[in-house]
Symmetry: C2
Subunit: 244 residues, 2 copies
């Protein structure tokens, strides 16, 4: 089974303090960009891979999505999601994305936020998503950017003038990266952007948009802690389409 | 007119000493990867954007390409190319890629090696290439990778254990980067991978393959100077197709 760090009590407690946990979608600075990359949701059947607290599922419901499934490996997350969205008619399931199966032609939009970099092997999931989407359907997902994940020890460097930079090394060495993020030994997978894109193409997807997210000047003015995020992308957002 | 550093006498003299200048395609470590990304050339009409000494044009001729045009802004390069490939029936033209026009449906493969990062605006050239390609035609090009070009002052950092890393900063700040490479003030353009890919998609291309080039273990064993290239990609190679 895939690593399930979100059911670790300490991790879960730490994660719960993040802006994106407390404030939901508006607490995630990349959300305005993701929103621009999404299709109109009214009438769509939507699947959220790694739904967490269910913030996106609730938003999709507000946008008039016809059917919404939120999938997550973490029982704690699902419990919280069910409590928060009670009566919203959203369907939550516990699923391991590494071994997921979905009915063919059963959805129009597959969404995933900062989840797929936990998967050791991305190809089986992409094949599952592809056959589950209707022709013309859309996949939009974010993941940690390989510039961010490449180094074995990730962190900023600050030079004598105060300029921050992100030392990149081991870029070509794909695979496990261990970080200590609310808990020790959180395992994520580093893969190059080329590997992400080529895996999507191999699964049959057409690449529509790649955004290597960085903050706008307005976002930095409103939240100066975001300033460093302009130096290197921490996440990317990708939109791909199943050909009609 | 675009910057024409290759007609600078000092730059040209320095450039002439590079392995890829002396040995041709086999002097470029990314060439085996590019070769795998190229279609079979027999019978194809080929255009090389930034042909330099004409090494690729000659190789295309050896592969049985039906028609070959080598375009470059540098008179020195073209003079050398014409001398080296005399009688090969290759058509060399002086062209500024920033204002290039090509006849519609006039070629099957457009190739470019380490040239397009000199262009301030990539969109007009991509539109030109798109209409020049026949349906199903291919664009294969390499350019400096944005991880490499992002910092205002590019260079390795070596930590106390001898680990090399490439400090990335200013990634989101697209535009001019000045480097001193055989001549002072060589101007290149930094653009994110997202911008490259989205410009191709906007021009109508379908992304087929992205390779963020790094050396193989065999290449490093044969040429230990390549070892550092595994830490971060210096170039990327992209293959895109005009839909049939």
């Amino acid at each position: 089974m895939s690593q399930n760090i979100y059911d670790d009590a300490n991790f879960f407690a730490g994660y719960a303090t993040l802006d994106r946990s407390v404030k939901g979608l508006d607490g995630a600075p990349e959300w305005p960009t993701i929103q621009q990359m999404l299709p109109a949701l009214a009438g769509l059947r939507v699947v959220d891979l790694g739904c967490g607290y269910g913030w996106f599922c609730r938003w999709a419901r507000d946008q008039g999505a016809a059917q919404i499934s939120g999938l997550d490996l973490s029982n704690r997350m699902l419990e919280r999601a069910r409590k928060m969205t009670e009566g919203d008619g959203i369907d939550y399931h516990r699923e391991d994305l590494q071994t997921l199966s979905l009915a063919a032609n059963s959805c129009d939009l597959v969404y995933s936020s900062l989840t797929l970099h936990y998967l050791v092997d991305i190809a089986p999931l992409l094949a599952t998503v592809y056959q589950a989407l209707t022709a013309g359907g859309t996949l939009v997902f974010s993941a940690e950017h390989p510039i961010y994940t490449a180094p074995l020890h990730q962190g900023w460097r600050v030079d004598e003038n105060g300029q921050k930079s992100w030392p990149v090394s081991h870029y070509q060495q794909e695979g496990e990266r261990i970080s200590n993020w609310f808990a020790d030994g959180v395992k994520k997978q580093h893969r190059t952007l080329g590997s992400w894109i080529n895996a999507l193409v191999a699964a049959g997807f057409v690449i529509e948009n790649l955004n290597e997210w960085g903050p706008t000047a307005e976002q930095i003015a409103a939240n100066p802690a975001l300033d460093e995020e302009k130096e290197r992308p921490m996440i990317f957002i990708l939109r791909a389409r199943k050909p009609a």
